[in-house]
């Protein structure tokens, strides 16, 4: 199945994300910073795992990405990571390749959205 990255466009809901953090904006900023640091590392780890045929490692990183993104209700990223996790579980490296590309595109879009999220804080 060919997936178009556009179907995974994030539309982050700042209010509901903040509600899950009990309105703690500082915490939101901190978590976003953590994600900005962690996401490229996870992507890197997934590329390497895929290259080395380490499906277990790939699945673990995809699972982490899914968990990390779910904290921001970034469902596009969650779904893409989830798809990749499934591919890894099924040891379907062809599908995994495509899923990883999708995930990279989605995460690429997510990062600036998350940064905006922090700057939007009402004064």
């Amino acid at each position: 199945m060919v997936r178009s990255p556009s179907q995974y466009g994030e539309n982050l809901d700042r209010a509901s994300i903040l509600k899950r953090l009990e309105g703690n904006q500082e915490l939101l900023t901190e978590l976003v910073q953590l994600f900005l640091g962690e996401a490229p590392q996870l992507i890197e780890a997934m590329r390497n795992a895929l290259q080395q045929g380490d499906m277990q490692g790939l699945g673990r990183s995809a699972h982490s990405m899914k968990g990390a993104a779910s904290n921001f209700s970034a469902y596009g990223t969650v779904n893409a990571a989830s798809q990749l996790e499934n591919d890894a579980k099924n040891e379907d490296s062809e599908s995994a390749k495509a899923s990883l590309v999708t995930l990279e595109v989605v995460v690429e879009r997510l990062l600036p959205e998350l940064e905006n999220l922090c700057q939007e804080s009402p004064k």
Binding site: R20, L21, E22, N24, L27, E30, L31, L34, F35, E38, R60, H63, S64, K66, G67, A68, S70, N71, S73
Partner: protein, 310 residues
């Protein structure tokens, strides 16, 4: 209250830690199941565990199973936090020993409420354990002297005899009886008699080592079980106990009263392995000889014909 957070994913872990801290919990966080398991079974472990399901090492469900198997008490309240939302996952999670199950992304109000439920259950558990320990104490101790009661000290003697026989060690058994105690009761009343018994108990306990045992065997009879003894020392030890009662008058509400005690002494090394009942019969015979020879003395039981007075 201390809470353990186990999640291999950094952001989820940090989020939990931050919120839990805001709610007044003391948080310990780890990145994998093995570390979670080690911490939860350590002394002074967190009583509540928030466990991610998918983790390196032991996963959350493995941790639940292992804790239920290896750490029955004090109870650990474990809550699985996971993205796995299929009914069979929930069932498997709960059957592994988790107390609760929350699907990610969780709502903070709900998590907070569920943690309060956990705390409530732990408090109930603690009260129950405390009540059980109180009952256990009452069931095994004499209510007047707080020494082990007859049932408990005889059980203990039975176990010690088996153990020391197996380890080729020895047990000293002493049965003592306050001399002319009936006179105290008759002259001063039972309340004063009780005071004499309480003080005697204190002195006996104060004269043995921390790993020896003293029990109230009957009205004014006390049974002592001493461990790892040197046979040749048995009579010396008995004399120490006897003098502990004789040396100073006992202060009672009716003034100081002198008391003395007769003791039958037996060292298990002088005997083959015998049941507690036989040993007690022999040591009772020695006590009787101490009484018959003028009281306020110790007599050593000697191996002779098996005791028939059972």
């Amino acid at each position: 209250m201390k809470v353990l957070v186990a999640d291999d994913e950094l952001i989820s872990r940090r989020k939990l830690q931050a919120l839990l801290t805001t709610w007044g919990y003391e948080v310990v966080s780890v990145e994998d199941g093995n570390a979670a398991f080690e911490l939860l079974k350590a002394p002074n472990a967190p009583r509540i565990g928030l466990l991610d399901w998918v983790m390196p090492g032991k996963n959350g469900v493995d941790v639940c199973r292992a804790i239920r198997r290896d750490r029955p008490e004090p109870y650990t309240y474990m809550l699985l936090l996971t993205a796995k939302d299929a009914k069979e996952n929930i069932v498997e999670g709960l059957e592994s020993g988790a107390d609760d199950y929350l699907i990610k992304p969780w709502d903070p109000d709900e998590l907070r409420a569920r943690l309060r439920t956990g705390q409530r259950i732990l408090q109930l558990e603690d009260r129950l354990v405390e009540a059980r320990e109180t009952m256990r104490f009452k069931a095994t101790h004499d209510h007047l002297t707080f020494l082990l009661n007859r049932g408990a000290i005889v059980d203990l003697l039975e176990r010690e005899l088996v153990r020391t026989f197996r380890e080729k060690g020895c047990t000293i058994v002493m049965l003592s009886d306050l001399d002319h105690f009936k006179n105290v009761n008759d002259t001063y009343g039972h309340l004063v008699g009780d005071e004499v018994l309480q003080e005697t108990a204190r002195r006996l306990l104060g004269s043995v080592r921390s790993y020896d045992f003293v029990g109230r065997y009957g009205g004014e009879e006390f049974l002592m079980v001493l461990n790892n003894c040197d046979t040749s020392q048995a009579m010396l030890r008995a004399e120490e106990l006897r003098k502990a009662v004789e040396n100073r008058p006992i202060q009672t509400s009716r003034g100081p009263l002198s008391a003395t005690m007769s003791i039958g002494v037996l060292s298990s090394r002088d005997w083959d392995h015998r049941k507690a009942a036989e040993i007690l019969c022999e040591v009772d015979a020695a006590l009787y000889r101490a009484k018959a020879s003028g009281r306020n003395r110790s007599e050593l039981a000697r191996p002779n014909a098996p005791c028939n007075a059972l």
